[in-house]
């Protein structure tokens, strides 16, 4: 193995939260939004749970008061799809830095993808990651692999991993190419009550691809992958769910055709859910006109018609969740010609603002379909649903599933909260990000909507847009 070019800086592992030591916190002056609706209310949290919700509540002595004036107070966001790079690539990101980025983005729970080195295809590695995540500033759940080594051949020990609490399994970074293996995996997973999450792409249609195959790839002379490569696997997997009665979650859908397939599967009553990323809601493949590697991502950015269809899928309710696919990379992995650049971009710290802009019609993000028709906007509550309680259910982290994520914000519920100002504008500065990497496509751009406070298990981990540890 080659020597690392630079020793990673010493990681500051945040001290683990000790129950009972979290202070009493009053979130004052905000508007509470959860699945049940919207109301003006203060929220008091103590001992890790919400203790009171109401207008003009008295501040208990010794309590920390967090100003939520002009802000929305919502259940902590849940990200089904992050790459925390630990173990194996700690100089790009580690659990601690990724968790801090998550907290700054308003997330109180993330699901770490298993394509680490070594991959999370066994209980030993999964337990280590869970142990490392135990003291982090947001809840770290993990996904296990579907197959050993993500090689697409032998089933990973899903039972053993499920015993550790793993509820999602994926070979993300690649789809399971062999239909026979995928069928058996769905059948096996069904018995465990877990969900398979698929990165849909038929590899045979994507040799050497660095972007979406279309007008831009043709003009730029860059090998591309057509949307059909994704759609083929979406269609295959839906057929396999019909066959096996298994449960499937479709990761980072990027094409209009995939949304149609997802909608049809739901109409049929199949147990299929799907997520989209903020960047696929915001960018088209035209961003690659200058061969800017910041925009190389997998699946690739597609056409304006695809962006419109994904937005429409969110508005119509077909899309179940927004997940960032936060994918940190060191500069040396991006400072190369496009063909050689690693795919992926940071997402955690910008997600909420980007999604508000894309789906609520924020500044500079008009909601138009490809044919020019104006699309209906989504309410802020629906956006929060896409980023909180709906993904929480997919990850089996919701209150009704024995979990602690996704609200509601009522007395007795776990105190996982995100407080954000939907009108505050800020300019993205990669050097100020908590992530260990800098590969954000939003560098220097202005976004509207900013997380002010994040409360994770009762602890104010982000206050005034600053991480507290």
């Amino acid at each position: 193995m080659p020597e690392p070019t630079e020793a990673p800086p010493v990681t500051h592992r945040g001290a683990a939260r000790v129950p009972g030591t979290v202070p009493t916190v009053v979130v004052r002056g905000g508007t509470v939004i959860d699945e049940s609706g919207q109301r003006r209310a203060d929220v008091v949290c103590s001992g890790g749970t919400v203790s009171a919700v109401g207008e003009g509540l008295e501040v208990p002595s010794g309590a920390t008061v967090l100003d939520a004036g002009g802000c929305l107070v919502v259940p902590g966001l849940v990200d089904l799809h992050v790459h925390l790079r630990e173990p194996g690539n700690e100089d790009a990101e580690c659990i601690d830095t990724g968790a801090r980025a998550a907290a700054l983005g308003g997330f109180t729970a993330v699901v770490a993808m298993p394509n680490t080195d070594p991959p999370l295809d066994n209980a030993a590695v999964a337990s280590e990651v869970l142990a490392l995540g135990a003291g982090a500033v947001c809840k770290i759940a993990v996904a296990g692999t579907i197959t050993v080594g993500r090689a697409g051949e032998h089933l990973a020990p899903m039972g053993e991993l499920a015993d550790l609490g793993v509820r999602l399994f994926t070979d993300d970074g690649a789809g399971v190419q062999d239909s026979g293996v995928m069928r058996r995996a769905l059948e096996y997973a069904r018995g465990l009550g877990v969900t398979l999450a698929e990165h849909c792409e038929d590899r045979a249609l994507a040799p050497g691809a660095a972007m979406h195959e279309g007008e831009w790839s043709s003009r730029l002379g860059v090998p591309g992958v057509p949307a059909e490569a994704e759609e083929l696997m979406v269609a295959r997997d839906i057929a396999l769910v019909r066959l096996t009665k298994g449960r499937l979650h479709l990761l980072h859908l990027s094409s209009a055709g995939s949304v149609v397939l997802l909608g049809a599967a739901k109409a049929e009553g199949l147990a299929v859910t799907g997520e989209v990323t903020p960047h696929h809601l915001a960018f088209t493949d035209a961003e690659l006109a200058d061969y800017d590697t910041a925009f190389k991502v997998y699946p690739p950015l597609r056409t304006a018609a695809d962006v419109a269809a994904l937005r429409k899928g969110c508005v119509a309710g077909t899309v179940d969740a927004i997940a960032t696919d936060h994918a940190p990379h060191r500069p040396e992995a991006k400072d190369v010609p496009l063909a050689d650049a690693a795919p992926g971009m940071l997402g955690l710290e910008t997600a909420l603002a980007v999604v508000l802009g894309a789906l609520c019609g924020g500044e500079g993000s008009p909601l138009y379909s490809a044919s020019g028709e104006q699309l209906s906007r989504l309410s802020t509550r629906d956006v929060v649903g896409l980023m909180s309680w709906r993904p929480a259910r997919i990850a089996q982290m919701a209150l009704c599933q024995g979990g602690d994520q996704g609200g509601p914000i009522t007395p007795g519920a776990p105190a996982n909260l995100c407080v954000f100002d939907p009108t505050e504008s800020w300019v993205v500065d990669p050097l100020r990000m908590a992530s260990r990497s800098r590969n954000t496509p939003w560098a220097g751009r202005k976004l509207t909507g900013r997380v002010r406070h994040t409360i994770c298990a009762g602890e104010p981990v982000v206050v005034g847009a600053e991480a507290q540890r």
């Binding site: 195959e213 279309g214 860059v222 006109a289 200058d290 061969y291 010609p337 496009l338 063909a339």
Partner: protein, 365 residues
């Protein structure tokens, strides 16, 4: 380069165009990454300057001191003999110092990144990078990394702008000769309505991408002729007059038959059943060449696969201008280097050539 920057560059060029004392107007641009950086006007200008250098190339001492003191680096990360020699010859005939970077024995082989390599060479104080790379966009990346003029000498499937320029130069030269006129007198009128067939592996061809842009900008009607597997994706968005799978049908309406090289591995079964089948359907032989429109030209960017896209006898037919393409390559690359690196004292290219040549002679060379 973004379209905004292009627009700015174009505007700057337009403003200086009337001022005869200013630097060559293409000098307002920093780089040549794509034919689209030039536009019709820019292409015409390159051709005009190239004609002056064609004349220089015919002299006993085909060398002028126009770029004396300038340093040109040929950074060929992908191997190429003819383009590299052509650029180096061009730079030397302009009296530039040439540093040749050999990828196979370089620091890149030792694991140094392209960026570090380029920054290291740039730190030595060079004026231009001529970049050949197997990845599309690599010259654009180099242009972002260093504050040095960058010329694209071929990047992946993307573009090979000087090839397209030398093709235009050759067509104009031949058509002007037929009319008994100097190329400069004809302007670019000869391209209006010219029927060009580009035949072969368009999908993987940087030459095709540049040529389509150049011929299209000058008003030619381009038809792509290839089997479906070798056509680019979203071909309907290309600025071409048509697409055909039938060479025999296209040839009688063709004034310029431009053959692309078929790389050997394409015949291995994924794109074509066999090279033999390709040659039978799309190879140009004497029988087919005879069906071309009267006076049609046959062109090839080289290197040729004789017996595949071009039959052995075709390069020797009267309509073949393949060797003239090579000869003009040097003059066109001289023109581009001169226009990007030349000093304001050069005034006009013709003036620069004449004036500086006097200086050259008096310096006792």
């Amino acid at each position: 380069m973004t379209s905004d920057q292009e627009a700015v560059a174009g505007k700057r060029r337009g403003e200086s165009g009337t001022d005869t004392n200013s630097a060559p107007s293409v000098g307002a641009r920093r780089h040549l990454l794509s034919v689209s950086d030039l536009g019709a006007e820019g292409i015409e200008e390159v051709l005009r300057v190239a004609d002056a250098f064609v004349e220089v190339s015919k002299r006993d001492i085909p060398k002028v001191p126009a770029l004396r003191g300038k340093t040109v680096v040929t950074l060929f990360v992908e191997e190429s003999t003819r383009t590299k020699l052509s650029f180096e010859t061009a730079a030397k005939r302009l009296s530039a110092d040439v540093l040749s970077f050999n990828a196979s024995s370089s620091s890149l082989k030792k694991g140094e990144s392209l960026r570090d390599t380029v920054e290291t060479v740039a730190a030595m104080g060079v004026d231009a990078f001529v970049v050949r790379h197997s990845a599309a966009g690599a010259p654009a990346a180099v242009a972002r990394w260093v504050d040095t003029c960058v010329l694209n000498a071929g990047d992946g499937w993307h573009e090979h702008p000087t090839q397209a320029l030398l093709d235009c130069c050759t067509i104009r030269q031949v058509l002007a000769e037929r009319d008994g006129r100097a190329p400069a007198e004809t302007g670019v009128e000869c391209f209006k309505g010219l029927r060009v067939a580009i035949v072969g592996d368009v999908r993987h061809s940087r030459v095709a991408r540049s040529s389509v842009l150049a011929f299209g900008a000058l008003g030619a009607r381009v038809t792509l002729v290839a089997p479906g597997t070798l056509l680019p994706p979203a071909v309907e968005a290309w600025p071409v007059a048509g697409v055909s799978h039938d060479l025999d049908e296209v040839l009688p309406q063709t004034d310029v038959c431009y053959l692309l090289r078929l790389q050997g591995e394409r015949g291995a079964g994924r794109f074509l059943p066999s090279v033999r089948e390709y040659a039978a359907a799309y190879g140009l032989n004497a029988r087919r060449a005879a069906t071309l429109a009267d006076g049609a030209l046959v062109m090839h960017p080289g290197p040729m696969n004789r017996g595949v896209e071009i039959a052995d006898e075709v390069p020797d037919l009267p309509g073949s201008v393949i060797l003239r393409q090579v000869a003009n390559g040097v003059a066109v690359r001289m023109a581009v280097l001169f226009m990007l690196l030349g000093t304001p004292q050069g005034k006009s290219p013709a003036g620069a050539v004449a004036g500086l040549e006097d200086a050259w002679e008096t310096s006792g060379a």
